[in-house]
Amino acid sequence: MDITSVFFAIVTIVAIVSALLVVTCKNPINSALSLVLTFFCLATYYAMLDAPFMAAIQIIVYAGAIMVLIVFTIMLLNIRVDANKKHTHQIVLGSVIGIVTLLLAGLFIIKGNVAAPTGPITPEMIAQYGHTELIGTVMFTEFLLPFEVTSILLLAAMVGAVVLAKKKLS
């Protein structure tokens, strides 16, 4: 029962509880804040998995940009607390599907065999070269094209956002 496993257990519990809070809170602001907490836990996971760059990006992009955007929107729209609830049968069916998904995924994970580690990257290499440099090397050699295309995607998103949220001039 070493410190790593305990730490892992604590982070897991926090992540799952905050995820449940996201789903159950009546006030959307509370859901948003819970989601931020979940993202932080995930960032911790990435750090534990020898991927500090991913952890940093997770916080910057998700918790920092996307969640801020969401909170802005909630406040912009001045949303009241949910007035009507969903019908009971919808909630039940939705939960059933969710639980079935969990069971199947769990079964998959337990029964599946993962392939043996074959790649060149080892924790020692990550410690030696730095995760960012390694990611950078792969990104700008093998995955250069998707990288460039992504920039166009972001351009399209920007234009779309501007056009959609504009009030009509008349």
Partner: protein, 100 residues
Amino acid sequence: MDNLNNYLLVSAVLFSIGTIGVLTRKNAIVVFMCIEMMLNAVNLSFVALSRHLGNLDGQVFVFFIMTVAAAEAAVGLALFISFFNNRESIDIDDANLMKW
């Protein structure tokens, strides 16, 4: 990696909680947040497996998922605002013009 299964299970749990949230909540923005949670669960899976297999491809893919999620957030929230301007409500059950 010996606790790969743990990471994958956590990822599965987060994913299913996200699914329940999408199907259960009425507020469109909360639904959107649950979708983000599902994406993140998948990100966790990718990173864990990439660490296990010793390959950085998984993490590069996570990078792209995040980019796409960001773009999607921008456009999606703009859509919500536009929807709200039309209907004064953010309830997804009010988006029912296709209902027969």
